[in-house]
Amino acid sequence: MDLLKVDSLCKKYDGFTLDNVSFSVEPGTIMGFIGRNGAGKTTTMKAMLNLIGRDGGSVTFEGMDYYAHETECKQDIGFIMGEFNCYTRSKLSKITDVTKRFYRNWDDEAYRKYLKRFGLDENKRVRELSAGMRVKYALALALSHNARLLVLDEPTSGLDPVSRDDLLDVLRGVIEDESRSVLFSTHIISDLEKCADNITYIINGRIYASCDIESFKARYLLVSGDLEALSKAKPHLIGHKENAFGFTGLIKAEDAEKVADCRFAPADLESIMIYVEQEA
């Protein structure tokens, strides 16, 4: 059974529509949620968790209708919206003291462990923390109540490479017991390639793809050649860029045999995103 199932989620704003967004997250997996800035990642996450109203669709968590059992479901969900920016003049200890009262599965030992691992001092105030440390504090809170699903919106954007790598290790550790899952949005694609099992790709409020990362990458090939080859290949290309030596572009793997005099290479997520967005 899927841990989380989002079905036909809709939200209309002036100039932007979240259009029938559907995807699911299986237990024991990390789902990367990717898309350009403004594609609808945060809107999807917020609508999914009822932080903003929705115009249609349903969300099922652990088999329960999320909207009908919101309080119950939230006990098992850890949600992070980037860095922690609440009560900036309060000490971490004070905020934690309030937070932990709301969770029946709060694990003080785990919380202390994450404080130590992330190098957080509980006696500091939020405003005294760097952007990266604020993300880490939010993570420590989210990881300390034994959540079955972690929903993280851009958790790595304020972190240095070492901290990002550490965070990805933590996320891998979270799903080790096969019962917990992570859904995280990012536009740092290299993070996804290091740890995600699946991706959901959103373009202009619509889901472009939602599948496992390897099969998604296998759908495409990077193609390059000279300008003469480009004129023949152009109708089959998803997107391309010209340079002094010819061109590089992206092609669907199934169309590769239709193109002659070109070189092919496996596509990485970042290249796929760049060329697909060019087409969009």
Binding site: L49, L51, I52, T71, M81, N85, T88, V98, R101, F102
Partner: protein, 227 residues
């Protein structure tokens, strides 16, 4: 529910709330509109709401295992607590007023148990205006405070005006004479105290109903607000 209230007092309450409790001593000013001190509670709550917005309190609360209505509920529970504490603080100061000022109050109702009727109604007006208007957007405190201040002062002037008029025209208007002799005075016997306590209880009932109605309306508005 107690966790939400704990959050309010620990993370959201501002020192100004405590400082404005000093306004209770305005009940010791001779010939003064004794409902004015209750306006200052609203002032303190306005400040607390502004700080809550700056601290992204709604976002923090919405990430906790509570419903969206609980964000509104926790603020209502907080303001009710702050207002009831103010009313409790009034009781000893009222006795002090009685000991120090024996001439009564020429500027409105006396500092007697019946004053609680007016105080509850001031809070009812504040809760019914400030909170729903604020929750229409979840961030526009200024407009909500301006409208609630106008409404509260309009009520204070009408209410106190009735007692000023009662003192002036008690000989010609029987109702004013009844007000002056039974409500606008320090209770000297058990039957007078009963009348004044009934006034206070009526005020409490109106306050409970008005605050609950304001809560329901605020929830309805806040459902449409994006956190």
């Amino acid at each position: 529910m107690k966790n939400l209230l704990y959050k309010e007092f620990k993370l959201c309450m501002q020192p100004l709330v405590v400082i404005f409790y000093v306004a209770v001593f305005m009940l010791l000013i001779p010939n003064y509109m004794y409902l004015v001190p209750f306006f200052f509670t609203g002032n303190a709550l306005f400040n607390s709401m502004q700080v809550s917005i700056a601290n992204s309190d709604a976002l923090f609360t919405s990430m906790l295992p509570v419903s969206k209505h609980s964000i509104v509920k926790s603020k209502f529970m907080f303001i009710v607590c702050v207002q009831l504490i103010m009313l409790l603080l009034c009781i000893p100061v009222m006795f002090l007023n009685h000991a120090l000022i024996s001439a009564g109050n020429k500027a409105g109702i006396d500092a007697c148990p019946a004053l609680f009727l007016g105080a509850f109604l001031v809070y009812s007006v504040f809760n019914s205006t400030f909170m729903p208007i604020f929750y229409k957007t979840g961030y526009k405190t200024d407009k909500a405070f301006l409208i609630s201040t106008i409404a509260v002062f309009a009520f204070i002037f009408v209410f106190e005006g009735i007692f000023i008029a009662a003192a002036a025209a008690q000989n010609s208007v029987p109702f004013f004479a009844w007000l002056e002799n039974n409500v606008d005075c320090w209770p000297s016997n058990a039957s007078l105290l009963t009348i004044q306590l009934v006034c206070a209880l009526v005020g409490a009932a109106i306050y409970a109903l008005a605050t609950y109605a304001a809560y329901r309306r605020s929830c309805k508005y806040f459902d449409k607000v994006d956190v």
